[in-house]
């Protein structure tokens, strides 16, 4: 057990036994073949279920809106704390009821990268040993260096410290990534409009419109999402590519200045649609046009561009 894990279990047990919180949201080991999963701990005696390792990819802040009015402690990686900042600015979270347990992060594993190397129907279990992932397969163990398995967001991550926290456990050893965070976006933007459209169409044709990306997104908390609204109905309900595209384009516009690039949508998508290319474009546009990056500024009064208006807002796109 790592020292972070030990510390985490102790803090969680203390918080619960002293009734400072009703619930601790963290990670626990998953069932066979699946590394970890979100854990909901309600009694001090269960605190030793908590684990923390590079398989802990989930952005747990997505669960907070179900526990409004409760005293909750939550385990967050540096990038996940940015989602919380957004939720506070959009008044979805009562900061006084929340205890943020900020854990260090050296980058998390992208399960789909493992599956590119080891066929998923042979993976029996996953374990972390030092800087390697040990994959037990039917043909014996396979050791893969963690640095080759990082999530796309982690490889370009510049955030090594939590933006907001109540208790900080340990410190990330990682340096902010060098190089351009939006290289993929720039490559996309450099294409001709026709090529961009073809790229978008081909990516969208994989989508089965299950809307798991929306459900996994901490910023998608609307009680009635536009896709579920029926009066008026915004979205056509067929598998026609245009309906799929309307869903994604509208959702992405709702993400401007709100998406932190946490990767929750990518992890949830059952068919590997690369949404990051497009949400990344939206993020880089929010930065370029509004000088705003979601989650950067912990000030509760900072206003994301979608919730404010200024006469000097760029409006070149108006005729």
């Amino acid at each position: 057990m790592s020292s972070i894990e030990q510390e985490l279990r102790k803090i969680a047990a203390d918080l619960l036994s002293t009734k400072k919180v009703d619930l601790v949201i963290g990670y626990e080991s998953g069932s066979a073949g699946i590394g970890v999963r979100p854990a909901f701990i309600r009694s001090a005696s269960d605190a030793d279920r908590l684990v923390y390792n590079p398989l802990c990819g989930h952005n747990l802040s997505v669960f907070l809106n179900r526990h409004k009015g409760q005293k909750v402690a939550i385990v967050l990686k540096p990038c996940d704390t940015r989602s919380i900042v957004g939720l506070i600015q959009e008044r979805q979270i009562d900061r006084d009821l929340l205890t943020i347990l900020a854990v260090p992060c050296e980058g998390v594993v992208d399960i789909s990268r493992i599956e590119k190397i080891v066929p998923p129907d042979t993976i029996r279990s996953l374990a972390i040993e030092n800087d390697e992932l040990v994959v037990q397969t039917d043909q014996g163990p396979k050791r893969l260096p963690l640095k080759d398995l990082l999530s796309p967001g982690c490889a370009i991550c510049k955030i090594t410290e939590p933006v907001i926290s109540d208790q900080v456990l340990g410190q990330s050893q990682r340096k902010p990534a060098e190089g351009d965070e939006f290289a993929e976006v720039q490559a996309f933007s450099a294409k001709s409009p026709q090529q961009r459209w073809d790229d978008f169409c081909s990516e969208m044709s994989k989508c089965i419109t299950c809307f798991a990306c929306r459900n996994a997104c901490p910023a998608c908390y609307c009680t009635t999402c536009f896709i579920d609204a029926s009066g008026p109905k915004w979205l056509g309900k067929t598998d026609h590519l245009s309906d799929v595209q309307v869903f994604h384009i509208t959702r992405m516009i709702h993400m401007a200045g709100r998406c932190t690039g946490c990767g929750a949508c990518l992890r949830a998508c059952p068919v590997g649609v690369n949404l990051h290319k497009y949400t990344g474009k939206i993020r880089s546009d929010a930065r370029e046009f509004f000088d705003f990056e979601a989650g950067d500024d912990p000030d509760a009064k900072a206003k994301p561009p979608l919730s404010t208006y200024s006469g000097s807002d760029p409006n070149d796109f108006f005729m």
């Binding site: 998953g30 069932s31 066979a32 073949g33 699946i34 970890v36 999963r37 979100p38 854990a39 909901f40 989930h58 997505v62 669960f63 179900r66 789909s112 599956e115 590119k116 066929p119 998923p120 129907d121 042979t122 993976i123 029996r124 039917d138 994989k206 089965i208 419109t209 299950c210 809307f211 798991a212 459900n215 996994a216 579920d228 056509g236 309900k237 067929t238 598998d239 026609h240 992890r267 949830a268 059952p270 068919v271 590997g272």
Partner: protein
């Protein structure tokens, strides 16, 4: 048990598919990025015979994600309906795993009954010959044996292919439809008595299992009893309500009907729906009898292991493991089953 066995080499499998392509549309597992999915092939070489389970189940071949039921057009006087059935051509569904073939036999119980017969579904089923490929071993997320099935189960298949040593495959005939497909084939090798024995032995080995299957009647009764119990208190905590489990599930068959109209023409479509969605049971009044993820998840388990047992005499899970693999938060139906069996509370 199968009456005719034929033998084919691995090398000849794609050639056999090429022969079929003259007469049939052939749907087989094909590689797409990191996974396999069923798709129409244009050459036998495109089929992937090694992946254990496709990402999406084959249910969409019979029960598409969006199905046009009919078109309509209105003018001042009248509404005109256009319900000309879609053209359905003969097809072969090749390389289905036995769990998936079994799931199709389950869907038949829903869409092809005396009470309700779904025209499009039934026409597609009639036009399709199902050729299954037995699994050499269970993948880590597979649990067909827990559901009283096995990797060489014959339910739902017209032909069953079992791999023998030395890259040879034995093809067992299970139905007249399968026999027709095989008779039409120009396959070189006839099976020897030894091959037939090898086929039967492989089937027996697949059946011989140490896993204790669930007792679906007992489980269904227990589920009905513990509907309001604390058993359901914690599974849903981490559920995102994303519906991946049900969209990928070969036996899930809930749908929603929508009208898609522009000006005065349109169509009525039937779309997949999921009990894991908030919208699933939302009434027009705003009332939702299943208001939270707790009820949603319970419904999924009840439908698979209780209501279907009452109604169709069988649990509607084939143990394909898709929901286990792809649930983004690892809600593992096998764990739920294990705990259900042990649960003593009322």
């Amino acid at each position: 048990m199968s009456n005719e066995i034929r033998i084919i080499s691995r090398e000849d499998l794609p050639k056999w598919l090429d022969q079929m392509l003259g007469t049939f549309t052939v749907v087989a597992p094909t590689r797409q990025d990191d996974y396999t999915n069923f798709g129409v092939i244009t050459s036998g070489n495109q089929a992937d015979f090694d992946a254990v389970n496709t990402r999406m189940s084959p249910k969409q071949i019979f029960f598409p994600k969006t199905e046009r039921l009919f078109g309509f057009a209105t003018d001042r006087q009248q509404v005109k309906l256009d319900d000309t059935p879609q053209q359905i051509t003969p097809q072969v569904l090749f390389g289905v795993r036995p769990c998936d073939a079994r799931s199709i036999a389950m869907l038949d119980k829903v869409f092809d009954t005396d009470v309700y017969r779904d025209q499009q579904y039934v026409s597609r089923r009639k036009a399709t010959t199902i050729v299954s490929l037995a699994c050499k071993q269970l993948a880590p997320s597979c649990f067909c044996t827990r559901l009283g099935s096995n990797p060489a189960d014959m339910a739902g298949s017209d032909l069953l292919i079992i791999e023998l040593p030395e890259d040879r495959f034995a093809i067992g005939t299970l139905t007249p439809k399968g026999a027709d497909l095989l008779t039409a084939a120009d396959l070189p090798a006839q099976a020897t008595a030894q091959d037939a024995q090898a086929f039967d032995k492989a089937v027996r080995i697949a059946q011989d299992t140490t896993v204790k299957p669930i007792d679906s009647d007992k489980l269904a009764a227990k589920l009905a009893r513990i509907f309001d119990s604390a058993f359901w208190d914690r599974w849903h905590d981490r559920c995102l309500g994303c519906g991946t489990c049900t969209y990928l599930c070969p036996t899930c068959h809930c749908f929603d009907i929508a009208d898609e109209a522009k000006n005065n023409t349109g169509q009525r479509v039937r779309n997949w729906d999921s009990c894991m969605f908030d919208l699933f049971t939302l009434h027009a009044s705003g009332h939702n009898p299943r208001p939270s993820q707790r009820q949603h998840l319970r419904q999924r388990v009840m439908h698979k292991f209780s209501y279907t047992v009452d109604r169709y005499g069988q649990a509607f899970c084939v143990g394909c493991g898709r929901c286990v693999n792809r649930c983004p938060v690892n809600i593992d139906i096998r764990e739920i089953l294990d705990e259900l069996e042990d649960y003593q509370g009322g």
